[in-house]
Symmetry: C2
Subunit: 415 residues, 2 copies
């Protein structure tokens, strides 16, 4: 505890500096910033891996690139021999997360939690080594708390402190009700860190308050306090809002190479550098080169984005599939001609069908009204010919190609 960096060998001092630089890279905030070095020093002196916690909400287990910002940070700790603590908030999942959400989440059953956790782990395995990870479910300790213990816990925090959380403060200002149970979400997250004795907790910037709760409660329970490492939030494909499944502006890490590549190509140019830094497999130096070349006009933004797209596919699939996805993209979207392989769909409907019904039946569009909009926007082609009249009746032919926008294409099998 009283160790200082001066008590280390020169070699160890270099190691501290090396790790520190890696962990600091790309972070939005480290709180308190000076304690991270001490943690690393102690870990080296005591030959003890740091415990680095990430809490997971089991209600939405589809992992997208937004999540990989923290996963990549976790991987850096893992690569240096530290221990990742994945905490599945299964108990918490029964309450829902009031953070920035207006609609309360529905309760999950034990089976759903287990299934969702499994889904997480399979996807996380693409970034971190799941064999070396500590897995925890907070229902293990939270569901056994008695009312008396809950009151002891509640006695360690003030109402005023809880009301400082941005969304609570905002709701109070607007006169919107806060249900008392909502105060327990940050308490639980904090208590999890007490039980897990975490040294560091990772989170997005929206987790600022909750992550600091861990520090608060560890101190009140007489434990060593964790450090908060807050990562920037990744905007989604729309370039506006935080990437999330509900906003449909995400790239899932389980998506097909072609879809990943195509979606990556659709991000606004303004986000490109941030994506390179936060979610690509590029090193700091490589990113610096990209930035410089873009600034000097030596790299065309489209070409830079193709590098980014290729990096993303390579990370979650392989270099080979990244190459294929790139070729596919070039063929279909850049040259404007149909690719060799178009998925074919058997058509079992009538031979004459209204175009709106056709698009919905083929599941190319979710509804007729959406299909109508797409036609109005000029996004629907049948046999490479744009459809402009949404009352049009299509005569189905075998081999007919139906295309929506740039990437949804099917070829009909019809006899």
């Amino acid at each position: 505890m009283g160790t200082t960096v001066n008590q280390l060998t020169i070699e160890q001092q270099h190691e501290v500096k090396r790790q520190l630089a890696i962990y600091q890279e790309g972070t939005h905030d480290i709180i308190p910033s000076d304690e991270l070095e001490k943690k690393i020093v102690n870990s080296i002196m005591e030959n003890r891996p740091l415990k680095v916690k990430l809490g997971l909400d089991p209600s939405a287990p589809d992992v997208h690139l937004g999540h990989t910002v923290v996963l990549k940070k976790l991987k850096q700790f893992q690569d240096n021999g530290h221990t990742i603590q994945l905490l599945i908030g299964d108990f918490t999942g029964k309450i829902g997360d009031p953070t920035g959400k207006t609609v309360a989440r529905k309760q999950l059953t034990d089976e759903q939690v287990k299934l969702n956790a499994q889904t997480y782990f399979e996807q996380f395995g693409k970034v971190i080594d799941m064999d070396k990870v500590e897995l925890h479910y907070n229902s293990e300790w939270l569901s056994n708390l008695s009312f008396e213990e809950v009151i002891q816990l509640a006695g360690k925090i003030t109402v005023a402190r809880l009301m400082e959380r941005d969304d609570f403060e905002e709701r109070i200002a607007l006169g919107k009700p806060i249900s008392l149970h909502e105060f327990f979400y940050p308490l639980m997250q904090g208590y999890d860190s007490v039980v897990l004795e975490s040294d560091i907790e990772l989170g997005g910037t929206d987790q600022h308050f909750n992550v600091l709760m861990g520090r608060h409660f560890q101190e009140r329970f007489g434990k060593e306090k964790q450090i908060a490492i807050l990562m920037p939030l990744l905007e989604g494909l729309d370039g506006l809002e935080k990437m999330s499944k509900s906003k449909n502006n995400y790239i899932g890490i389980d998506e097909k190479p072609e879809d990943m590549y195509g979606k990556a190509m659709s991000i606004p140019d303004s986000l490109m550098v941030k994506y390179f830094e936060l979610i690509s497999d590029y090193t700091i130096e490589q990113n610096e080169a990209i930035k410089r070349d873009l600034a000097l006009g030596e790299l065309h933004p489209r070409d830079a984005k193709m590098k980014l797209a290729r990096s993303i596919v390579r990370m979650y699939h392989s270099e080979e599939l990244a190459e294929v996805a790139e070729q596919h993209f070039i063929t279909v979207f850049q040259k404007g001609i149909l690719p060799d392989e178009i998925p074919s769909v058997e058509w079992k409907g009538a031979s004459d069908v209204e175009v709106l019904d056709l698009l919905v039946d083929l599941k190319l569009m979710p509804s007729k009204s959406e299909a109508r909009k797409m036609i109005t926007n000029g996004g629907v082609k049948v046999n490479s010919e744009k459809v402009s009249d949404f009352y049009k009746t299509v005569q189905i032919e075998d081999g007919m190609v139906v295309q929506i926008g740039k990437r949804k294409i099917v070829q009909l099998q019809y006899k």
Copy 2:
């Protein structure tokens, strides 16, 4: 539920009116006032006694006249065949104050709770028929609540609603911290009423908020809502603050006849009528007569106070002991001479002793500084002679009388 007073027989209607008048007498507030009649009507129609709850804090079981204000109200319900629910808040008592800040809320063991409850019951037996009372300990249900159930409970109330409680509101305004666990005391009190299905809860005006919690939670749990009957708080002997043991301004119902009488004589004249109304055995009509006679100058305030003092002793001892206490008071305090029987104390100390040491050694005063104040105030006499010098050395003699104020007197045995 849909019953109205019109569906009752004339006799029953009279009975409703009779009970209503009794219950309303002396109350500070009935919330909501119109529902009490409905409760009485239903009780008569369904031939079902009302459940009338009183919550008790097991940490301070000395019953004083302040408590008898609600006890007398409970007795009225009992006399009309309704059921008294005495709720011992032992769960709260066993938790104590998790912040350890309030001395009053130290943790109680099971044995202490049982002992304290027993002490309550013995004293309550002087006012109500304890054989007909329902006894409940809230640890029975509260200690079995799981964290999940606590959260469900917390989900039924908003933070804003809790912050409306006067003392919380005040502390927030002053920037004084409120520990989150404090929000749970009103929750628990409310939940007790859900479990007990109380029709009415009694309390002092300081229980306004907490008693209404019962109504709130009963509604949220789909139960019939209780009515709050709030009784005025009785000021203590100082005429300033609420009667309480900690303020040492109380008359305990277990005190000796002489002490009770003497203390009752010390209340300010301004409180006399309130004491008659709230804690004497006088009827409404008798109290009206006292008020009138005092106003007309036909009754001397001192004589009225003697009637009050006698009433109080009669209620908790007997008419005979009240007579004896009155004679004692007249002899000692009104005529200013020493009574026949003065407790004698064997003096084993030195023959020459400083007066401050003497008073402390005899346990007549708790400390030298208190003794000094008492001498300064002219409250110390040795052999009927006032002591004015607190450096005075007293030569002890057998039979010497030492007197503090009006009521503490000892005679020394010394050989």
